[in-house]
Amino acid sequence: MEANTRSTGRLPAAFLTPGSSSFMDFLSEHQPEMLPGKRQLPPVQGVIEAPHGTTIVAATFPGGVVLAGDRRATMGNVIAQRDIEKVFPADEYSAVGIAGTAGLAVEMVKLFQLELEHFEKVEGTQLSLEGKANRLSTMIRSNLGMAMQGLAVVPLFAGYDVDRDKGRIFSYDVTGGRSEEQGYAATGSGSIFARGAMKKLFRDDLSEEQATTLVVQALYDAADDDSATGGPDVARRIYPIVTVITDEGFRRLTDDETSEIARSVLERRLEQPDGPRAALL
């Protein structure tokens, strides 16, 4: 019967089986080999060399959240790509930024976006922000095998919670552990420095504009001390990707807007290389 239904060009039974609204569930039934987590990896010695994406930062402000990332991908001591994009819209009200193995991360984001869109189309309503965050958790967990071979993917998820009317940030570890961050968060190799910078600069009454400046400052500090994070590249006009999510939805700042922020940050740093100073007491 199964062979028969396929040969007629008819939709196979799996397509017409009611029940799941998840695209990943459907894939694991119908074509499990297409799921990243179901692939068999041959045993390898040492670490596989592949481009790695680095620093992602996020900060909330009253009325929304900003998520930003630098543009560098590295492979060992080599800069693999100068203009990689690591921050993506997940759907209308959320975005995901990725640190870790670039190839796997981009695939994960593509599947994640599709997972949310698929649910929305099948159910006619969006997943809750928590639901989306949990879905991402599952996807990271299914990558654990790869992570143990050095191909980890660690995203940062930010979104506007329509039910609670505020921006929220979720961070993850390689095992898929999820935790909600208050105020600001960072992931990737430069995250320690970025977090340090935001710790001193963050306030909970920032405007949207100030919040975008904050994340660019944090990325600058990360690039300052971490060789794998790229700073604003004025010569090539490559600036960080900055996205804002509010009740009006996801918006990626244009190149002109980010270049303006990056340039003003850069200008001040010419006088004060370490950036703005916080009060001692």
Binding site: T8, G9, L16, P18, F26, L114, K121, G124
Partner: protein, 250 residues
């Protein structure tokens, strides 16, 4: 044990077709029209949650008349088909023609298989193009045939009468409001020649709008926006005041 009666294949097929047609005609009609900026779906639907029209993919919409559980299954199958195809290749590689083919094959196989009850559904698959010339509308009757339609199409209920009404009046390049009004006029016609009024809250309207900046062109039109578009239709405006909630639906 009794010997089954002999039924000629012709008779069997006619019976099955008759069965499906009756089932489809039992529901309310819905119409799909081209307008200047895209394709609009209009139908009478007392439910706000159980939709007759839905999004399949970026540029592709779906409309169905007939039995809910059957077309809902086909709709989800279509969403899965489109999403899988887009994931495997690229978003541009998902086409209404491909989807219509799969639906035709599915409906055709079910229709001619003696082991299954024929589906009592009639589908419309529409894809909005970059220009009106690129728009595609396919009508898929219960038996797996496929009809490439232009301008306007009606399915379900007294579809024949409505189609001929629309054929005479539909023009290329109509505005959305004009198309909507024409559709409501067509849907209000009774089979016996009379007319009845369809209150605006019983209308389900969706568009595939090629001018939308997002990749996903499908959008539902509800509440106040719908009321505004139908404004000079007189009686239809009363209900709009309390609505407008659904307007933000993406």
């Amino acid at each position: 044990m009794s010997t089954p009666f002999y039924v000629s294949p012709q008779q069997a097929m006619t019976d099955r077709a008759e069965f499906a047609r009756k089932g489809i005609a039992r529901g309310r009609s819905l119409v799909v029209l081209q307008y200047a900026d895209g394709i609009v779906f209009i139908g009478e639907n007392p439910s706000r949650a159980l939709h007759k029209f839905s999004e399949i993919y970026d540029r592709i919409g779906f409309a169905a008349a007939g039995k809910y559980n059957e077309y809902e299954n086909l709709r989800i199958g279509g969403v899965r088909y489109a999403d899988l195809r887009g994931y495997t290749y690229d978003r541009d590689d998902v086409t209404a023609r491909g989807l219509a083919n799969v639906y035709a094959q599915t409906l055709g196989t079910i229709f001619s298989s003696a082991a299954e009850k024929p589906y009592e559904v009639e589908l419309v698959v529409a894809e909005v193009g970059e220009t009106p010339e690129g728009d595609q509308i396919y009508r898929l009757p219960h038996d797996g045939s496929i009809v490439d339609e232009h301008g306007s199409v009606a399915v379900g209920g007294n579809a024949e009468q409505i189609s001929s009404y629309l054929d005479q009046r539909h023009q290329d390049g109509m505005s959305l409001a004009e198309a909507l009004k024409l559709a409501v006029q067509a849907l209000s016609r009774e089979p016996n020649g009379g007319e009845r009024e369809i209150p605006v809250e019983r209308l389900e309207v969706a568009v595939l709008d090629r001018t939308r900046p997002q990749a996903r062109k499908f959008k539902r039109i509800t509440g106040r926006q719908l009321g505004r578009l139908l404004e000079d239709n007189g009686a239809e405006t009363a209900a709009e005041a309390e609505e407008g909630e659904g307007e933000g639906e993406k």
